[in-house]
Symmetry: C2
């Protein structure tokens, strides 16, 4: 057994306190697996004297994070503060001192991964940054390293999945489902980062970068949240055998020369493996050329699950340090461009309130045709003077679909475009 | 870019020919990901001059596998022959020469992993040995290295899953479903290895060893196949909201001091994530202390999917060779014993043909009670003079359950024990 590896922990909240607990409770197993004990050198917190979920020996606590990460005896820095600063400065300072870094910081990696990867002189592991406990970064970076990924479809935000699942199973409105999620601790008091898709967009950027060996940032990701989803959208999807999920989609273009990265609600068929992902669970579906269809499923957040991912990375970087080696570094050789969302090829489900008179369908169909968008199914339901027209298109560019919807809005006979939603995961032509 | 790494391929069948194809078609990507080109040094086959799925340059083919794996210029040996010999001797010869080895050979690893791991002087990677394309070995060995796995429940044999899925969805008999699987190429002419559970047992041994950091061999695995499953078993399970799957189950005992490893058909609730695994797909469900419930899903067999796993390993060992390092080696420090199946704690579903007269239920219930097995539900259906009694037990040791069934067989009022099946994945007490 080698001499202990010293671990500095930045942050002692929901995840950090679980990391402390596991380092203590599983010390023997961890030492056997690494080949050396993992010893907590210090824990940087914002305030001393706070009550914590897990007791931390007082002499380990410090408010001087910078001094901690630059201590000569520290080997590995675990960053679970989140956010851009001071996390970035601390990680860069640690890296300058040759420390290995384990982080759960999706926002930093998605916004400024380039700086962090460039500064890395030992190891930078971040399994916990995407989809919590689900082993995803490692399989994508390593197991699929010999394959060609075509598409990644992921449910990577537990809060929105919980809300959409409640809306689907109980018929609740968005507001009621959000309130329930908040009361259960699945959503924060300010739910913006989750319900507007910012959290999922950061994860999509990280996944796309790894899947396509290119640099993708949060700013490259097209993003729509779920706040506009109504109970009737959910019911209408259900009636057609679909379920609405907030998806992170990273896909290679048909010619393979660029990638699209987007986060938005979408209808997927109930028979799709992602449709069965309930409550706050996460799942990521990968389509690769040789491997075919793969899915990874599990808890996407929470203290213990996220800490499990952090500990897995800790064991890996610990082993690497002992062996005097490094894990795989950032792979961006393919350098594919991210194309604008308009170039994405997808399908639309469009629901229109129209006047119920002859010729309406022909007029509506003409708008689709003028934009080269082919209609797969139409369903019309009379309701007194009005009728509801529900159309699902074949695959077309998002720009053409979007222009079609604009054209529909301009028609007198269209009283309202009740809803527009992308349809994914359904490859029937 | 470093100078090429030379790869020797043993076997050029369904998987090997796909490895050749991918090494050629994706040469540029692979070189960029490894940091050096992967160059095929030779392909060992049984017979020259055969027609192959993928054209292999004739000068690369050889029938002298031993000469190929001991060639000085070979860096990495990929073994996709399968079976114990000559695969073992060739791998040992390669290892003696310091080559890295990538293998898909589950039989060898499950029967004599100890010898092979002990001889390893560079890297031994075997992602393709379990569940084909599904990244599983690497996540279990590395991502979960900081967690404590409690249980692994897997559908790891595509042939039997295809057969059971057909029986479930069409009501077909085992024989008819097997014939269909054979006609579609999902089952071999001699289906013994699949339908009797030998293939799944080898995979269970490998998974258990990794999950519990202990040495487990195929001989340690309790095994029952699916040949006795009748259409009426499937229908009866369906009526109760269950589906029958052939499961590989690796579980820590309640006291954590030993592990049970078994392969047998079992009823699982339709709400369980594994229940939705259709056709020849594989999936592995992992329960870990911190990570919670995880599932990995994908194609478990087939040339291209298996080759994807081989190529991922090739990239990893290639990177390791360039860096002058090694991946994680075998971890068996926990050295847990495998307990006999009798000590397994599980639940039984028992279907009895009984005489339809007063006191029958009391007599039957008494047998359960004498063996300390608690009954969860009973359902009785009269059929003329006879009745059918269907009982589901609470959790008890397999030995007690087995003794109970023996006791039932001895009762005069029990005309026949129509079926006995374990119930898994349903944690309601």
């Amino acid at each position: 057994m080698s001499k202990p590896l010293k671990v500095a922990l930045l942050g002692c909240g929901v995840v950090g306190s679980q990391v402390v607990r596991l380092l203590t409770e599983q010390a023997e197993d961890l030492a056997a697996r690494v080949g050396a004990p993992l010893e907590l050198a210090g824990v940087a917190v914002r305030k001393l004297g706070r009550k914590r979920d897990v007791p931390v020996p007082e002499e380990l606590l410090t408010t001087d994070a910078h001094a901690l990460v630059t201590r000569d005896d520290v080997d590995i820095v675990v960053e679970v503060i989140g956010g851009i600063e001071p996390a970035r400065s601390l990680i860069l300072a640690a890296m300058a001192g040759g420390k290995s870094v384990v982080t759960a910081n999706k926002a930093l990696l998605a916004e400024d991964g380039e700086t962090v990867h460039a500064a890395n002189r030992a190891d930078l592991y971040f399994e916990a940054a995407v989809a919590g406990a689900i082993p995803l970064i490692r399989p994508m970076r390593e197991s699929l390293a010999g394959d060609r990924v075509h598409r990644v479809l992921g449910i990577v935000n537990g809060t929105t999945n919980y809300i959409l699942d409640k809306m689907d199973s109980t018929g609740a409105s968005f507001t009621d489902a959000l309130e329930e999620a908040q009361s259960l601790g699945y959503a924060e008091a300010d739910p913006t980062a989750d319900v507007e898709g910012f959290d999922a967009a950061a994860k999509a950027a990280i996944l796309a970068g790894i899947a396509f060996h290119s640099r993708v940032t949060a700013a490259d990701v097209y993003r729509e949240g779920i706040t506009e989803i109504s109970a009737s959208d959910v019911a209408s999807a259900k009636a057609m055998g679909y379920v609405i999920k907030l998806l992170a989609i990273c896909a290679r273009s048909d010619d393979g020369r660029s990638v699209g990265v987007r986060v938005h609600p979408a209808m997927i068929p109930r028979s799709h493996p992602l449709a069965g992902v309930r409550e706050a669970y996460n799942a990521v579906f990968v389509e690769a050329e040789s491997a075919g269809r793969l899915m990874f499923y599990g808890a996407g957040a929470g203290g213990a699950p996220t800490a499990s991912a952090v500990l897995g990375d800790l064991v890996a970087v610990g082993r690497n340090r002992l062996a005097g080696t490094r894990g795989p570094s950032e792979s961006v050789y393919a350098d594919l461009a991210v194309h604008p969302v308009g170039e994405t090829v997808t399908r639309y489900h469009v629901s229109l309130d129209v006047a119920d008179k002859p010729g309406v369908l022909a007029t509506v169909a003409d708008v689709f045709s003028r934009h080269d968008v082919s209609i797969q199914t139409v369903r019309q339901e009379g309701r007194g003077d009005d009728a509801q027209l529900v159309l699902v298109t074949h695959r077309a560019s998002d720009a053409a679909l979007s222009a079609t919807v604009e054209g529909l809005r301009e028609l007198d006979i269209v009283r309202a475009v009740a809803s527009v939603m992308r349809v994914e995961g359904d490859e029937t032509p």
